[in-house]
């Protein structure tokens, strides 16, 4: 099995000199292609911070990070941006939908960014809307949706481009059991069809049990490093 993601002695410190917060200390683990990995830990343990680094939207203070065997920690901003666009799907802790876009546009956006043909986009988005039970919300704006619906749109947006790596920060936080199941089901399909890898931070036993493996983060340390 190929390694999708590998972290080597990653640490993260916020702030300068006399006001430093060390959030991640010496984190090393790897994620295989097609693997589901859960990260659990109490609030404030650094889960989001770790996910941000893995998703290339934050920099580690020390350590190396490889994506598909390529070192990406030293990549230019432009390179990181392209990498996020093509390879990574992000499910945010707080959905982060674009207010001026409809549900359809929000989901279609990553495909447009990757210059997918309009016809293909239409087809894919329509299909995903059905799977997520959102067809009737197609032309609604985020402010017209419930918290759970927004989260589902956020999940759809992350999965639509079939990324190699999906990073999900509390994806089930505002979902009921049924919709959480549906989301996980969809992730599993993507995983089985395309070999996508998942890195999921969660407190939810449903999600954690669904994963192949789990890591526990405690005060910035991995409790049982693999």
């Amino acid at each position: 099995m190929t390694t999708r993601l590998s972290l080597n002695a990653i640490s993260k410190t916020f702030g300068k000199a006399d006001n430093q917060t060390v959030v991640l200390r010496d984190i090393s683990f790897s994620l295989d292609a097609g693997e589901f990995l859960a990260i659990e830990g109490p609030s404030g343990s650094g889960k989001s911070t770790l996910l941000n680094i893995c998703g290339l939207i934050d920099h580690a203070t020390h350590g190396d990070y490889y994506l598909n065997g390529t070192p990406v920690s030293q990549l230019s901003n432009r390179g990181r941006c392209a990498c996020r666009r093509r390879k990574i799907g992000f499910i945010f802790q707080r959905h982060q939908l674009i207010p001026a876009m409809t549900v359809y546009d929000n989901i279609a956006y990553p495909l447009q960014l990757n210059n997918v043909k309009a016809k293909q986009i239409k087809h894919d988005v329509a299909q995903l809307l059905t799977t997520m039970g959102l067809e009737h919300r197609r032309n609604h704006h985020p402010y017209q949706l419930s918290g759970g619906e927004r989260q589902r749109v956020g999940i759809a947006r992350a999965l639509i481009k079939r990324p190699q790596l999906v990073i999900a920060d509390e994806p089930s936080a505002s979902l009921d059991h049924t919709h959480a199941q549906a989301g996980l089901q969809l992730m599993r399909e993507l995983n089985q069809t395309y070999g996508a890898s998942f890195l999921i931070a969660s407190h939810d036993p449903l999600v954690i049990n669904h994963c192949d493996r789990k890591l526990t983060l405690l005060h910035g340390f991995l409790a049982d490093p693999v």
Partner: protein, 402 residues
Amino acid sequence: MNGPLIALRNILRDGTRVISTLLIIATGLTALLVSGGFMLSTYDSLQEITMRTEGHLIVIDDTPDPLLGGSHQQLSLSNWQTIRESLWNDDRVLRVLPRARFEGVVSKGNRSAVFFGSGVDPKEEFRVHGPFLRTTAVLDPWPTSSQRAEVMLGVQLARTLDATSGDLLTLHAVRSNGESAEAVVRLVGLYQNGTPAIDNHTLMVTLSTSAALMGSDNISQLSIYLDKKEESAALQHSLQASIDGVTVQSWQQRATLYHKVKSLYDRIFGVMAVIILTVVFLAITNTISLAIYQRRSEIATLSALGTPPPQIYANFILEAFIISIAATTLGMLLAYAISHAINLAEIMMPAPPGKTEGYPIFIYISWHHYLVTSLVLIGIVILASLRSTCRAAKINIARAIS
């Protein structure tokens, strides 16, 4: 995704902020257009005055330096009859008016005053001045009698002499050979051009009267009035080439007041324009920076999804562009309405320095002027939005999302 539609939605989402931005741009544009329109109309009327008083082209004798002699040169143009006749066949020429300048003392009884006189073609002279020379006598026909020499006086000069229509006045002058000469003339009318310095000392007689007084058929200048002022340059060159011993000047060379006022107004307007454009620039920079701050989480999300930064800026610039199009449209409509209202209301300006009368404000409405000014303003808005979007690049994605 439809870029302009998204931009429009973002604009509508931000109602109050957008309206204040819109009003700042529109007000700035209105101020520029109305004051610019006033300036343009002032230039135009000053050009018009010069063209009407001097003619579009002026033929003078070139032997003595005419500029050294000032405007009251000697009577030095001798072959003017021939030149005048040759011009009558030219379609471009409407009128050719001879003017003989002379000076001396005019007296009535025990009162006397220095005068600057012109011997003119009585039939045409008063027609060309149009609204810029107001007469207070019935001048059609002038001279009223072919037997007697007649004179028209500047209003102030008549007041100095305490002369009224029908009075007999004596003109005293010194001929070029040093002899002194006199002529008795009857006052038939008054005229006024609104500049006391001129109305105090000016008088007009027919060309035959001035020729008899000065003992010479020569004139000072031949003023040529054209059908279209655009043809002046071409005709100036061809006349200069075809007539020997004369200098052909264009009205621009005589338009000292026009040039002075223009350079003054250009500077005043320039400073004003810079101030207005700076205010607009700062206001836009401010509102867009605020918008970017308020929407930093959205910007961070777009960036996290892998949107290249220029595409993110493009959204904001597109929004600024749409706002500025709406604002300039509003500004142009406002300026049009205000200018039109001012023109209809015939609001009087107070008399400018050196003048006795005010004049109605007229605001030029020129679509060319409107378009160019609006484009400059739109450019400023885009520049301001470019500057503020550079800040969006500094947003820390992770922090803006959490």
